[in-house]
Symmetry: C2
Subunit: 408 residues, 2 copies
Amino acid sequence: MRRTKLFTNTQKQTPTDEVARNAQLLIRAGYIHKEMAGIYDLLPLGLRVVEKIKEVVRIEMNAIGGNEILMASLQRKDLWEKTDRWNDKNVDIWFKTHLQNGRELGLGWSHEEPITDMMRNHISSYKDLPAYCYQFQNKMRNELRSKSGIMRGREFMMKDLYSYSSNDEEHQIFYDSCIKAYHRIFKQLGIGDQTYFTVASGGAFTKFSHEFQTICDAGEDIVYLDKKKRIAINQEVLNDEVLKDHNLKREDLEKAKTAEVGNIFSFGGTKSEQLGLFFTDKNGKKQPVILGSYGIGITRIMGVIAEKLSDKKGLVWPESIAPYDIYLIAIGDVDKEANELYEKFQKAGRSVLFDDREARPGDKFADADLIGVPLRVIISSKTLQKGSVEIKKRTEDKSELIKISEVI
Amino acid sequence: MRRTKLFTNTQKQTPTDEVARNAQLLIRAGYIHKEMAGIYDLLPLGLRVVEKIKEVVRIEMNAIGGNEILMASLQRKDLWEKTDRWNDKNVDIWFKTHLQNGRELGLGWSHEEPITDMMRNHISSYKDLPAYCYQFQNKMRNELRSKSGIMRGREFMMKDLYSYSSNDEEHQIFYDSCIKAYHRIFKQLGIGDQTYFTVASGGAFTKFSHEFQTICDAGEDIVYLDKKKRIAINQEVLNDEVLKDHNLKREDLEKAKTAEVGNIFSFGGTKSEQLGLFFTDKNGKKQPVILGSYGIGITRIMGVIAEKLSDKKGLVWPESIAPYDIYLIAIGDVDKEANELYEKFQKAGRSVLFDDREARPGDKFADADLIGVPLRVIISSKTLQKGSVEIKKRTEDKSELIKISEVI
């Protein structure tokens, strides 16, 4: 992509109405636009990062048997009433609206109810189980406050997977395979070392749920880490019994601020009973289907990485999710050579953001740092005298000259 | 994809609450699920078709300079008040909701206002123009009635592109290039011959707008076609002046029911003036930016194709957007050979829906027809005796035996 064909410009000034560092940087660099607190648009660079995160997640969800779907945002009141989650006292983050005939609708903040209802068309026998479906869906949550940028949105992109199993053993096998998939995902996203499998509150259906918490000063959770055992306890469930259950000692734990990037949750058969999702088992007996749900905060992860991996100069993307591989800067009268190099990189399968603007070199360097693409390549009459280009990694200060013939 | 790993089942019965043929077929074949009138979920097969339609559109939009973005659904009231489109009297299909503090929000039914407002951060000089951005966005429209299945949704997927130009000439050049891109798109989607460039009402900003109307009995529009000149006039603007303007004769026209699959629209500089999007021209003069908007109904197109290209047995997808290239059926004790063939097809880059279920051959044939994948391949002990598989196109009745060694 040529900068002259990309409509976004970077901003030198930090937006005055934005307190979260992730959103400040992402706005300045032209990744997102703020509509209001907690509601952001994805601009071309931001959408590319989100699509790359989605693709990492998608490959792993497909690998464990997930079928990708896309549910509507508009929700039927009757389904959520069956599980007593329509009431604002039980779920305090609904956005609600209504049809012209007055019928009330909700805006999806999660999708257990409609997906479980939909599954009644597809599950009737043990032969139909297990079934796994997932989506990348635009959730809407009417948060009272929203000051963490894209780390806690009122509208945000989430991956939510739902598992339907015939019994607890089958459920547990998938639950464990999803934990492994989540570890692989966070590793690929460059936050594997900093992300902990975490024991958290189970709610009405199960003793514990599990979260994936990434160490992050801008996070909103507090967990206690056992760094050796690579496990954490959310402060909401920290007590002697939980420590004993998990073979942990209080003195080994370290308090940390974290951001919840994933969670997994067992519902047992209750929700299926409430919504009428039953199957006939091998003995001809009618049973409720066992439900699990498995979330990953896609746009939140973009925010967490922007917080954690940035520096004074701007964003620093890991290669796996950078919007482009290379930021190519042309200085001076080198149009022909720069265009040839741009084409060559692309033919070699590398994505390039080509700063072909008529702008001062200093502005181009500043933009390369702010936008945070992994590799900066400079081509100028000076480098061309040596038949070379200058290459610098975003994570390093030193650059080196490399022969054009060897650069691809 | 193996049918045993795909959670959806087909339905023999037509859903009783669904009057639209497109939705009846798509529901029976497991492409979509109905939440309520006008609100549908995309199941795995449906999502694949939608993603394929999107990719055809995306490539063409990128080719004419579009930058892909994704705007929020939740909308600021103040922006829409500036253009007098918040009022329910002027726009009668708003879904509205509110934050917990009472602040009113709308749900995006179009995005001219927020995108034009966002562009104020990126456009200030003639050097920033032209700028083109587009998105695939989940629009919500509170339609009074919704009986056309996915051809008129209350929630639906739309491609909307917005052009920002410095003057009318620059605007017109893009407008014309978008018309050409739309023709290429509808041709690739298999409805090129049946889709007419149509003159329609221009509204407040321009004499005419333009639509792309596909001949379809289930459509909700009436247009008058000149089949030789490949142009149509929407009945809402049919009068002597319009005919004269377009060099058409009333006696050459043919009345047709059609579905609007695309539209393009000029707003001039009015909306930019209302929202404060100005630029400084080459002479240093402040000017409003010229706006155009360009829609394609992505899920509507899936509905139109389901209506037009289906037969008594089910759906018939064009190759360009079929969910899979091949429906592979194994009959009898041929697991090893069937699996080898499944792998081979995939290695050759063909996508395959492999019916590996323990089911009667008749049920598999019926599903192959209902789901409507372009090519059906049968492997059985009978075909294997001849070292062959049986191949049949969905659009033809005759099948032929082809040697396994030659099938790829």
